[in-house]
């Protein structure tokens, strides 16, 4: 029992200050200033200024907000994570995700919109590239989906390079004349 708890703690990075164990249900608005480990049930809203770890058996029906998070269980609600969000193979997220750094393991289920927040700032400052927003038609983000996304992005970059190349040729042709 303790071994499992220790492992979860290590994965969070630091030891949790709040632990909701598997046999406990929390209802309402929970706000914490420390690390939180959820192994049980939460209904309402959940907010922490530090790290959140959602265990494999955990079930959350709440809007969640954290500095960074690692999810192995079920979350029904929107997830807003300031830094890194890690979805493990057993993770099931039914709601929108907003984060600046996302790691999705093969097998994780996401049904909702993913918004990468760091992209928004870069876009508004530099160019019209815009906010990288991905809407998943099916819930499961698999290797094929990732490949498709990468292919789209590669096409965009290639297109840009071709445009630049053509412009260069035109300028060269003008000076040669």
């Amino acid at each position: 029992m303790f071994q499992k708890q220790d492992m979860s703690n290590r994965e969070v990075g630091r030891e949790p200050e709040t632990i909701i164990s598997a046999s406990v249900k929390l209802e309402g608005d929970f706000v914490s200033q420390g690390n939180v480990l959820i192994e049980g049930e939460v209904e309402g809203s959940l907010k922490t200024e530090k790290d959140l770890r959602v265990g494999e058996q955990a079930r959350i029906a709440a809007d969640v907000s954290a500095a960074s998070a690692s999810v192995a269980g079920e979350v029904r609600g929107n997830l807003e994570v300031t830094n890194r969000l890690e979805l493990e193979p057993t993770a099931r997220v039914y709601g929108d995700i907003k984060t600046s750094d996302l790691i999705v393991a093969s097998g994780a289920i996401i049904t909702g919109r993913i918004t990468m927040t760091s992209g928004i700032e870069d876009a508004s400052n530099k160019s019209s590239k815009g906010n990288k927003s991905v809407k998943l038609s099916k819930g499961v983000l698999k290797d094929e989906d990732v490949k498709e996304l990468l292919a789209e992005e590669t096409e965009e970059v290639m297109g840009e390079m071709e445009e630049k190349e053509t412009a260069k040729k035109t300028i060269n042709a003008f000076f040669t004349k």
């Binding site: 303790f2 030891e15 200050e17 709040t18 632990i19 598997a22 249900k25």
Partner: protein, 259 residues
């Protein structure tokens, strides 16, 4: 000016030697003072209130955890400094404060290294260490914002202000050191009892640890609660933290605020 409160059990012959050594050491260090003795007719609260009126600024409790508990209940939010000389057992509160037993405690006292710590209050009664509900079907309302429900019929609840031996399952490591008396929070540790196969014996599930400022514990029927070891029964307990309430003399090996 120091005022020493001796517990009634110190009149037993087996403590006379230790007590004599303590008194000699206190005289050597120049911190001896007036002595008040607890008895069935003299309460710690009465002794402390009289001495505070006379201008005493430091109360030193000589005895075990129960003596400290009675003194803390008497001190409440009165602005004085508390010192301990642990004699007898259990002395887990003194251990958490880094104070050695007997004569050696006098040296810690003379160094006068003080910390301002929180106290807990349950239904108006002050406690230093923890309150414990050994068993009962309860609902906990935390900070007026959420409720904690347990599907299990029975659970143990320990609300700690200062880490001590009453916290179950010390194997669980938590970063905020449950029972840090300087964090402005109380830590509720909830351990559900699961009924085992064929109903023989009890198993315990893993504990939940939730820091709170204020909690309301209710039960459908009256249940027993132990505040720093002293028992009382009720069906509704309002528990809250009183931050920076008590100035206490601590040793360097205390379990919190390590430099």
């Amino acid at each position: 000016m120091y005022f020493y409160i001796y517990d009634s059990f110190l009149s037993e012959k087996k403590y006379s030697r230790t007590l004599a050594a303590v008194e000699t050491r206190l005289t050597d260090l120049g911190i001896s003072g007036k002595i008040g003795r607890l008895s069935p007719f003299t309460t710690a609260k009465g002794l402390i209130r009289d001495e505070v009126r006379r201008g005493t600024e430091t109360i030193v409790v000589v005895g075990n955890d129960e003596t400290v508990s009675r003194a803390v209940e008497g001190i409440g939010d009165v602005k004085i400094t508390l010192g301990l000389i642990p004699i007898g057992s259990p002395t887990t509160i003194a251990e958490a404060l880094g104070i050695p037993s007997g004569e050696e405690a006098c040296d810690v006292l003379s160094k006068r290294l003080t910390q301002k710590i929180d106290l807990g209050r349950v239904n108006g009664r002050f406690f230093l260490s923890s309150v414990r509900i050994p068993s009962g079907r309860v609902v906990i309302e935390g900070d007026g914002q959420y409720r904690i429900l347990m599907p299990s019929a029975d659970c143990e609840v320990v609300v700690s202000n200062l880490r001590n031996a009453e916290i179950p399952q010390p194997g669980i490591k938590v970063a905020n050191n449950p029972g840090d008396p300087m964090d402005g929070l109380l830590d509720a540790m909830i351990t559900p009892h699961l009924s085992s196969l064929f109903g023989f014996g009890k198993r315990t599930a893993s504990s939940s640890v939730i820091p709170m400022r204020r909690m309301n514990i209710t039960s459908e029927e009256p249940i027993d609660m132990f505040a720093d070891g002293q028992a009382f029964t009720n069906d509704n307990f309002l528990i809250e933290v009183v931050p920076d309430c008590l100035k206490v003399i601590t040793g360097r090996s205390r379990a919190f605020a390590q430099v």
